[in-house]
C-alpha cells in the first residue's frame, strides 16, 4: 500500500491534500457488490444442491420400501384365491386420490383397463413410510407395471417376468424398453416445482382443484423431435414411457436456458426386486422341507424328474435332483407307507398335494437335491438317517465345509450368457435354468453327487439363489 501511495504520490503531488473519502466509499461499494454477487450465486446453486439431496434421499427411501414390500408379500398355501392370489414380487397400486393409501384396483388382470390409474402418487401409508416430500415440498409420484401390480394380478410373476415401463435418458436415448425384457417394474417420480407444461403452455395448477391431475405435477418435453409426456405411460410400449429430467431448452429471446421438464426419476427394475424375491421363495420351500422332515423321521421326499413337465409334478423313486414334487406317492411307497404322501402343515407351497396359487408361478423354476443319507427310507422299521458327517453321503456346497442334507435352488431370469434363451422349449434341461455348476447335478447319481453346489452373489452370468440345510 505504501509503495503504491508513493508512486501515486510522485505522479500527483497534490494527492496528499485530498481526503480520499470517495476512494474509500468506492472500495466499500465494490466489496459489498462482489460479496453480494458471490453469496447469491453460492446460495442459488447451494439451494439447488440441497433440494436435489432431499429429493434423492426421498426417492431412495421409497425405493427401499417398495422392494421390501415386494419381498414380504403375505402368502398362504391357498389356491382358492386364484387367479388373484398374493404373489411374492407384488407392488402396490398407486394412490390416485392423495390419501396416501393404494387404490383397491389399478386395472384388470390383462391391463386392458386402468392404464391411467397405474400412475399416481406413491402410496406412502401403504408402504409404512413417512409423508415423503421431494426438494420442492411435493409428494412423490409412482408408476407401476401391469405385470407387477397387486390388483388385479396378471397371471404369472416369477424371475422371468419383465417390467413393462420404458425409460428414457434426458437427452432422449432409451434406457429401458417396456416392449422387451428390459422394461422396469416401477418408477418413483419427484415432480419438482410447478412449471409451464410445454404442450399446453399452462402453468401447473397444484391447488386443491388440480391436485389429483397428473399433468399438474408431471411434465412434458419434446427431445430430439420426440414428444415425451411423463403424466402417462403405456405398458409394454417401446415409445410411451417416462423421461428423466431436468430438460432445458434455449430461449433465443432471453438468450438463456430454461427448464421444461423437472421430474426426477428413480426406477425399480426387475433386477432390483428379484434377488430378494427368489430368496423369499427359496426360504418358503426350505421351510416346507424342514417341516416335512420333522414329521417324517428326518427324511426328505424324492424329487420330480426334470422331464416331467406335466401340470402335476410326480415324485420318482431314486430321483435325487429335480423339481419339487406335488405328489409324493413314490416317497410313501419306498418308505413302506411310513412317510407321508402329502406336504405338512406350516408349508406355504402346497395344501396337502395341491399347489398354492403363488407357487404355480414358481414351481418350474425351483430345483431340489436331496442327500443319499436323507432319501426316503427303503427299509423298515423306521430309522433316523445318519448325520451328514459321514463323508460321501451328503451334498457339498461351496459355501460351507459342512455337508448338506438338501439344497433348494431358485432359478433367476433367463440369461444370455450362458445362453438360456428358449427356456420354455427346454424345460427338461437344467442348463436352461441353472448355472455356475449347479446345472451339472446328476439326477440319479450312482453313489452321491459328484458336483459341488454353488452359492454365489447374483451377477450378469449367475443368478441362482441357493439355500441348504
Amino acid at each position: 500500500m505504501s509503495q503504491s501511495c508513493r508512486i501515486i504520490g510522485t505522479r500527483h503531488p497534490d494527492i496528499r491534500s485530498q481526503q480520499g473519502a470517495a476512494f474509500i466509499i468506492m472500495l466499500v461499494i465494490l466489496v459489498l457488490g462482489v460479496t453480494t454477487i458471490f453469496v447469491s450465486s453460492l446460495n442459488s446453486s447451494e439451494l439447488q444442491n440441497a433440494q436435489d439431496r432431499v429429493t434423492a434421499e426421498a426417492l431412495a427411501q421409497a425405493k427401499e420400501a417398495l422392494i421390501g414390500y415386494a419381498i414380504k408379500v403375505q402368502i398362504s398355501n391357498s389356491s382358492g384365491c386364484l387367479p388373484n392370489c398374493p404373489r411374492p414380487g407384488d407392488l402396490p397400486c398407486p394412490d390416485t386420490n392423495n390419501d396416501g393409501v393404494q387404490e383397491s384396483s389399478c386395472g384388470n388382470a390383462s391391463g386392458s383397463t386402468g392404464q391411467s390409474s397405474r400412475i399416481g402418487r406413491l402410496p406412502w401409508k401403504t408402504l409404512g413410510l413417512p409423508d415423503l416430500r421431494d426438494g420442492s415440498g411435493e409428494r412423490l409420484w409412482y408408476a407401476v407395471s401391469n405385470n407387477f401390480k397387486s390388483s388385479f394380478r396378471n397371471t404369472t410373476l416369477n424371475s422371468d417376468t419383465p417390467g413393462t415401463i420404458s425409460i428414457f435418458a434426458s437427452e432422449g436415448t432409451q434406457l429401458n424398453n417396456g416392449a422387451s425384457t428390459s422394461g422396469v417394474a416401477a418408477v418413483i417420480i419427484a415432480p419438482g416445482a410447478p412449471i409451464r407444461r410445454q404442450d399446453t403452455g399452462n402453468m401447473q395448477d397444484r391447488s386443491a382443484a388440480g391436485e389429483n391431475t397428473p399433468t399438474n405435477y408431471l411434465d412434458y418435453a419434446t427431445v430430439a423431435g420426440v414428444a415425451h409426456d411423463n403424466a402417462g405411460f403405456i405398458d409394454s410400449s417401446a415409445t410411451d414411457g417416462l423421461i428423466q429430467g431436468r430438460i432445458k431448452v434455449y430461449d433465443p429471446a432471453t438468450k438463456s436456458d430454461y427448464v421444461i421438464l423437472n421430474d426426477q426419476l428413480l426406477t425399480v427394475t426387475v433386477d432390483n426386486i428379484m434377488p430378494g424375491v427368489q430368496k423369499r421363495v427359496a426360504a418358503e420351500v426350505k421351510n416346507c422341507l424342514v417341516h416335512y422332515a420333522l414329521n417324517n423321521n428326518n427324511r426328505y421326499p424324492w424329487a420330480t424328474p426334470l422331464s416331467d413337465t406335466g401340470s402335476t409334478y410326480n415324485d420318482n423313486s431314486d430321483e435325487f435332483f429335480g423339481r419339487i414334487s406335488d405328489d409324493l406317492s413314490n416317497t410313501e411307497n419306498d418308505s413302506n407307507y411310513v412317510m407321508n404322501n402329502q406336504w405338512s402343515n406350516n408349508c406355504n407351497t402346497h395344501n396337502n398335494n395341491t399347489p398354492a396359487g403363488w407357487w404355480r408361478n414358481w414351481k418350474e423354476l425351483v430345483f431340489y437335491g436331496v442327500a443319499r443319507s436323507y432319501r426316503p427310507r427303503d427299509s423298515s422299521p423306521s430309522s433316523f438317517p445318519s448325520v451328514c458327517a459321514t463323508v460321501g453321503r451328503c451334498l457339498n456346497v461351496n459355501d460351507t465345509s459342512t455337508p448338506a442334507r438338501f439344497v433348494v435352488i431358485v432359478a433367476g431370469k433367463t440369461l444370455s450368457s450362458p445362453d438360456q434363451t428358449n427356456r420354455s422349449l427346454n424345460k427338461s434341461n437344467a442348463f436352461y435354468y441353472l448355472e455356475g455348476g449347479n446345472e451339472n447335478a446328476d439326477p440319479t447319481p450312482v453313489s452321491t453327487f459328484s458336483n459341488t453346489f454353488v452359492l454365489s452373489p447374483t451377477s450378469d452370468t449367475f443368478n441362482d439363489i441357493l439355500v441348504y440345510q
Binding site: 500500500m1 505504501s2 501511495c5 508513493r6 504520490g9 496528499r16 481526503q19 427411501q61 427401499e64 420400501a65 417398495l66 422392494i67 421390501g68 414390500y69 419381498i71 414380504k72 403375505q74 396416501g100 393409501v101 401409508k125 401403504t126 408402504l127 409404512g128 413410510l129 413417512p130 409423508d131 430378494g276 430368496k279 423369499r280 427359496a282 426360504a283 418358503e284
Partner: protein, 240 residues
C-alpha cells in the same frame, strides 16, 4: 510506512460526529440481524436434530440386521447404574410395551437432542433425551423378526398429525417410533405424558403425533417402516 503515517497525521483522524454516525449505523445493522441470527441458530438445531434422527434410524436398522430384532427402550433412571442408556431386558413381556428413552449406548448414537443436557445423577431432570417406542412383536428375542411378523394389536402404533388425521394405516403400522421433544423439551400433543418432564414409561397409548412445527407442537418424530427394514434385512442376508 513513513509516508502513510504522515498522511494520517495530516488528516487529523475522525471527528466525534463521524464516529457517532458510524457506530449508530453499525448498531442498527446489528439490531436488525440479531433476531434472524437467533432464528438461524434455532433452525440449525432443528436440522441437527433431524440429522441425528436419520442416524438413529440407520442405527436401529443396523441393530435389527445384527440381532434380528429391534432394541427395547432404556428405562434405567440412575446414571450410576451400569444399565443406564442400555436397552431394558425383555420389554416385550409387557403387553403393550412401555415407551422409554432410546437406548443410546446400545445403539452408539447421541445421548440427547441438540436442546438437551446430559444427566449426571439420579435427581437430574430428563432434558432432551430421545423418546422411543417399539412394537413388541419386533423386539422379541424369540421368535425374532420373520417375514410373517405381524403388528402387535395391543401396541397398535399409529401416527397422527395435529389435526388428528392418521398418517399411518392399520395394515402397515410403524414398527418403532423415535422423537425429539424439541426446544420446549416436553412432548406435545399425543406425544405428551402426564408426568413430564420426569420419566414416565407410558404404556397405554400407541398413538403418537407428527407435524411441521407450529405454536402448540415442536416435537420432531420419525418412524421405521416395516418394508424398508425388510429390504435391508434381506439385502444383508438376515432374512428370509
Amino acid at each position: 510506512m513513513k509516508p502513510t503515517l504522515a498522511l494520517l497525521r495530516d488528516k487529523g483522524g475522525f471527528s466525534l460526529v463521524e464516529m457517532a454516525i458510524v457506530l449508530t449505523i453499525v448498531g442498527l445493522l446489528m439490531a436488525t440481524m440479531l433476531p434472524s441470527l437467533t432464528n438461524q441458530m434455532e433452525q440449525q438445531r432443528r436440522s441437527e436434530a433431524r440429522k441425528q434422527l436419520a442416524e438413529i434410524q440407520q442405527a436401529l436398522m443396523g441393530f435389527a440386521i445384527m440381532n434380528g430384532r429391534l432394541p427395547c427402550p432404556t428405562t434405567q433412571t440412575d446414571p450410576a447404574n451400569s444399565g443406564y442408556g442400555s436397552e431394558a431386558a425383555d420389554c416385550w413381556t409387557n403387553n403393550p410395551t412401555t415407551e422409554g428413552y432410546l437406548p443410546w449406548k446400545t445403539l452408539g448414537v447421541a445421548e440427547t437432542d441438540p436442546w438437551g443436557s446430559k444427566r449426571s445423577s439420579n435427581g437430574d431432570a430428563w432434558k432432551g433425551y430421545w423418546r422411543y417406542r417399539v412394537d413388541r412383536n419386533f423386539a422379541k428375542t424369540s421368535p425374532l423378526i420373520s417375514m410373517t411378523t405381524a403388528f402387535s394389536p395391543s401396541d397398535a402404533l399409529t401416527i397422527k398429525d395435529s389435526a388428528g388425521n392418521s398418517l399411518t394405516s392399520s395394515s402397515e403400522r410403524p414398527i418403532a417410533i423415535v422423537f425429539s421433544t424439541g426446544p420446549d423439551m416436553v412432548g406435545n400433543g399425543q406425544n405428551a405424558n402426564t408426568t413430564e418432564p420426569s420419566p414416565s414409561f407410558e404404556q397405554t397409548s400407541g398413538i403418537y403425533q407428527y407435524d411441521v412445527p407450529n405454536t402448540a407442537f415442536d416435537d420432531i418424530l420419525i418412524w421405521i417402516s416395516r418394508p424398508q427394514l425388510y429390504n435391508r434385512m434381506v439385502a444383508a442376508g438376515k432374512l428370509p
